[in-house]
Symmetry: C2
Subunit: 414 residues, 2 copies
Amino acid sequence: MSHSCDAVYKHRLGTKRLKLVGTDGNPLGNTEVVIKQKKHEFLFGCGEFNSIAYANNELDENGRLKAEDKYKKLFDLFNFVTLPFYWGDFENIKGRPHTQRLKKTAQWLISRGCAVKGHCLCWHSYSAPWLLDMSNSQILSAQLQRIRRESRDFAGLIDIWDLINEVVIMPIYDRYDNGITRICKDVGRIRLVREVFAAAKEANPDAVFLINDFFNTTTDSYDVLIEACLEAGIPIGAIGIQSHMHKGYWGVEKTLKILERFSTFNLPVHFTESTVLSGHHMPQETDDFNDYVPEKWLSTPEGEEQQARETILHYKTLFAHPAVESITWWEFADGQWLGAPSGLLTCENRVKPAYEELHKLIKGKWWTGPEAAISDETGLIEFSGFRGEYELNCHGKKYSFILDKKGGETEIVV
Amino acid sequence: MSHSCDAVYKHRLGTKRLKLVGTDGNPLGNTEVVIKQKKHEFLFGCGEFNSIAYANNELDENGRLKAEDKYKKLFDLFNFVTLPFYWGDFENIKGRPHTQRLKKTAQWLISRGCAVKGHCLCWHSYSAPWLLDMSNSQILSAQLQRIRRESRDFAGLIDIWDLINEVVIMPIYDRYDNGITRICKDVGRIRLVREVFAAAKEANPDAVFLINDFFNTTTDSYDVLIEACLEAGIPIGAIGIQSHMHKGYWGVEKTLKILERFSTFNLPVHFTESTVLSGHHMPQETDDFNDYVPEKWLSTPEGEEQQARETILHYKTLFAHPAVESITWWEFADGQWLGAPSGLLTCENRVKPAYEELHKLIKGKWWTGPEAAISDETGLIEFSGFRGEYELNCHGKKYSFILDKKGGETEIVV
């Protein structure tokens, strides 16, 4: 039994020999089974910062019901959620980090089948205000200590981190004074990246730590930075690429060019922050996105159709590229950053066409099963499908297996 | 005797005690002298590629006379000239470099009081076409060999080099296939920079080797690249900043921002390629300057007035910044790159207002002497002026001394 898919997605498939055996150890030949995918290996995710309030029972009845409706839709589509660890929020009072609140949220998301990513442990924006009272060496020390603490405290719950964010502009960021720009200016970008990665890997050696950045106008700066970090031997786990397309969808050509460039480093690429709007675009001349504050920023019917088309193109382009291991839609529902119509859902949880079209891909075209199969005389089933977690039904019972790039044979004792 | 100048230029001054003594070793008290500057320590220069034909007697009589008129004006203003070493021209036939032609040119320029800079030993544009027949390791080897050869062959004549040019875009340059983009893509920017600097320093340890680049849209990429190179221990001698302002003068604010950023590396900064036009500007949307090919690009009276005002502002801004050690006006006369009105002279050697205004600064406001002075009873003269080479006249005879940042005392035996 072999799964067929577009040739461009072949690298997403796995193949495995499933061997059915009885409890007596004898192969179960000519046995009917039904196999279906339960989860993607690929990380299809979104940011969902409001899940903290929900998971910690901080919502009123109405809020709780509305959230439950939203999360039903989220878990039906995604297997990955990004939680916020902005230092200024996470530890707004020095020494009182919101560790328990975030742990409870991560545990809840994991219980619902999602992997969790923490975003982000070092960034100049939303950094802790109390850093400003410290010397640069004290700030650096506190920053590294903070990274070690969160990496260790959340190990096993959160093993994927946007470790350091927007290093390209970090030392020249001048909208307001902050502790992280100070130390980055002081020790330099590459030394800071080296220090934060060393601290993080020390605290959680098995986690995947990302460097994450956006493209101001060209991709050169980030490209040079990554080259420099790798040349300096820094153990970057994956390259995070922001793709907030508030000024309009990049298009396939630009996206492919970026993929071509950033895949030369032979590291996994995560699209960490993807946004395609369902309303009007931000003016091209806007430099800092935060400067654009329209009175109203509505999701429109035409905008939603366009968002759906562009979102699908974006996901297809990325899923077709072997280097990409994850796509995070930045905001699951409208009404977040900048008040932009950036969600797959409206503020009222109405599903937009982009959600529906994405669902057709993630849980349809790129999803395997349920499929019936019969083992041969030796009990073997050759199985192929999109990589991920699977369930095999045999004689009314359920068995699990993993389909990954390793392939090989798995024995299932029925 | 102390020289007065605007406070913003104080770092350009030197102070020295000159001690007049007779041949018998006794101090010459109460002796009148006249002191005048002969040359700037600061490198005020220009590109003048046509000097090769002149110095090698390749011009006809008319061409020679016109060139002599031009060079009289050049030497009256500048003390520094950039000569071209584009590989594709310098060694268009493999194994037959134009070493002697360039040596003769450099010797002539030096004899006329100019230091000479070579531009540039590694660049993807104008690289040798025969590299395309070689493997990447052969190209890299030829590139390093070429750097060693020129650095050694010209040592003593050319001890300042734009060693490597436009590394930021080097591996992604896609206008045409070339050997240097190939190896940069292959080994990476930082490794290539490291290799070329190692080869150059090996061949001429005392020379100043620059990395040189332009700003596409932001300064980040070059900033990150330099940081990475320094972090990798690469012995960059000075940072070269191109400032081709064909789209319009940057203005003081932008220039100061760039100076602030690039002076953090504690390396000398050279403005290696400065252009301010005396005609209409290139359209803002032009990406690659080479794409803009107007039928006519005239120097206009209003354009020349504007060029003069902006050029003066540019030089004043740079001369006022302690990190800047050199400004090279890219094209001394019109009719060169892109056919732009980029010169301080027209094609017919007519001096533009920018030349005259620059002259008032370089040989006027920023120039010391002739000044009369009298030694005290112990033969001492406290002298202060813009740093550079000086001539002291005493009793009808001329004596030389250097005024630099070291200060101290110089004995002059009259």
